[in-house]
């Protein structure tokens, strides 16, 4: 179909932008409007088969050993199977509905208990420290998982840069909530804007990154462009997308999912096969990319990152602090 294959030359680099856009519009209108439209209407092609946006490479990031033994989930699956309620509650919605979203120009406000409270552009923020590639497992609270080669800024670097005061105990992440471009925000599915939070030590953990890319390319809109949080030992919903504010606070932030279902979603949301979601089991997971007969795999404590994060929770009752 119209999916652009991964290549070194991105079409937008050769063709003038306006011409390229017009051409895309034309192809879209003619190509899928007529042919695929009918097929989609009849239900023979799922809507997610047509996500295509210009792709841009990121240059000059550091490769790291994180996850080098893992087999990444396909780019196609990573970018068409998304939970991003700001663009709709179906997994195929974000890839389609986020096409008009503009991740640039973008500013992020660093505020609260920090010496350097400041609003940065996304490009300034990306220059605070070298970007790193981190191949991480991602475990969704819905019991499926992926392996994603992220590119991001270690959160600890941003924290060092911002210089939190002694009062800073938590970090709150606030996502964009623009009713113009984010169709899902028009419905009160969650208490918008999306809010997530970490304890300061969790935010400082070596695993925590602010991702700006995946698969060597600029982060696609449906994955949280221009910048989203990645904490691989926690359930995927902790990964706030399209972050506009990072606030250092004294008190524990009230996250969007805690507000939506306090008995089902806790502040920590650490991956834990021994603590079930009240409505479904967390003991096993389905790795995305398998076929109809691929069995589930066992979920690991802290999603397999116990060595790096376990010590932060010593003495904490993980059944209560889920």
């Amino acid at each position: 179909m119209l999916i652009l294959k991964k290549s070194d030359i991105v079409p937008s680099e050769i063709t003038p932008r306006e011409v390229y856009d017009d051409r895309r519009e034309f192809i879209k209108a003619a190509g899928f409007g007529l042919v695929a439209g009918a097929a989609i209407g009849a239900g023979f092609i799922p809507k997610n088969a047509q996500a295509a946006a210009p792709r841009q490479k990121i240059s000059g990031y550091i490769k790291t050993p994180y996850g080098s033994d893992e087999k990444p989930t396909s780019y196609e699956d990573v970018t068409t199977y998304n939970n991003y309620y700001e663009f709709g509650t179906s997994k195929s919605d974000p890839a389609i509905e986020s096409q008009l979203f503009k991740p640039r120009p973008w500013t992020i406000s660093i505020e609260g208990q920090v010496k350097r409270a400041k609003t940065l552009t996304i490009d300034e923020l990306m220059k605070i420290a070298p970007l790193e590639e981190r191949i991480y497992r991602m475990r969704c609270v819905e019991a499926w998982s992926m392996v994603i080669p992220w590119i991001g800024l270690p959160m600890a670097q941003l924290i060092k840069w911002a210089e939190p005061t002694g009062n800073a105990k938590y970090v709150e992440f606030i996502s964009a909530s623009d009713t113009q471009t984010m169709t899902g925000v028009r419905l009160p599915v969650l208490d918008w804007p999306y809010v997530e939070g970490l304890r300061l030590d969790e935010a400082m953990n070596q695993l925590t990154i602010l991702a700006v890319g995946l698969y060597g390319e600029v982060l696609p809109n449906q994955n949280g462009a221009p910048m989203r949080l990645v904490t691989p030992w926690k359930y995927g919903f902790k990964g706030a997308k399209a972050i506009v504010k990072i606030r250092f606070t004294e008190t524990m932030p009230k996250t969007a999912w805690m507000k939506a279902g306090p008995s089902e979603y806790g502040f920590y949301a650490n991956v834990n096969p021994a603590v079930d979601h009240p409505r479904w089991s967390q003991a096993t997971e389905r790795r995305i990319g398998g076929g109809l007969f691929t069995p589930r795999i066992k979920t690991q404590m802290f999603n397999g990152y116990a060595d790096q994060v376990g010590q932060m929770y010593a003495g904490l009752d993980l059944h209560k602090n889920f």
Binding site: L190, W280, R286, I288
Partner: protein, 211 residues
């Protein structure tokens, strides 16, 4: 009322329509379009279709009550069996594809999680209905057949509850099913109520004065 021949053709048409969800899944499977999570897709699809067909099945009586058109009731049993067919595919997907027939896990899942329990109960309840959905059984069970098949109301309520409880946050679709079911059951309750107060009177006459 359509002729007997027309009814036969309509039954053929409904049979083919009833196969659409299955053919669609096969087509999507063959063309590799079952999304990134094919098992979940098949599980959701068969479950949704079972519910949709159940709602259609349950709307034959309200159609008769509201319009006086009674002949579509002849299609009801076939539709009910299609609902059971997709419920079977749903259960097979759940037990085999999703849980690799690991019975310990499946049993645990059923008793530990209310949404699984109500869904499973709905399926179990529908088994005797499917078994007795033939002319011989109707004759044999006589008046009891109707009583037995009233279990379909419980199946429908459990089915909608199953969907309601499994949804993570966006309740739009479960609410739609619940609304449809409320209208379908409400119509029946309303007419039964009218019948009980105007005992002996023609219920259809009563409707005309109201509408």
């Amino acid at each position: 009322m359509p002729s007997k021949q027309h009814i036969t053709w309509m039954k053929v048409g409904i049979f083919i329509a009833g196969l659409y969800p299955l053919l669609r899944l096969i087509f999507l499977g063959v063309t590799d379009h079952l999304t990134a999570n094919p098992i979940e897709f098949v599980e959701r699809s068969t479950g949704t279709w079972a519910l949709v067909i159940l709602m259609v099945t349950l709307s034959m009586t309200p159609i008769k009550l509201l319009t006086g058109i009674a002949w579509p009731i002849q299609f009801r049993r076939m539709m009910g069996l299609f609902m059971f067919f997709y419920a079977c595919l749903h259960i097979v997907t759940y037990a085999w594809l999703d849980h690799s027939l690991v019975w310990v896990d499946i049993v645990k899942d059923i008793y530990k999680h209310p949404y699984v329990l109500v869904g499973f109960s709905a399926f179990v309840l529908s088994i005797p209905l499917a078994i007795t959905s033939n002319k011989a059984m109707i004759k044999r069970l006589k008046g009891n057949w109707k009583k037995l098949h009233q279990a379909v109301y419980a199946i429908a309520i459990l089915g909608v509850l199953h969907y309601w409880w499994l949804v993570k946050k966006d309740l739009t679709e479960p609410i739609l099913f619940a609304l449809v079911l409320a209208i379908l059951l409400g119509t029946r309750i309303y007419y039964n109520y009218c019948k009980s107060i105007h005992n002996g009177q023609n219920v259809n006459m009563k409707v005309e004065t109201i509408s």
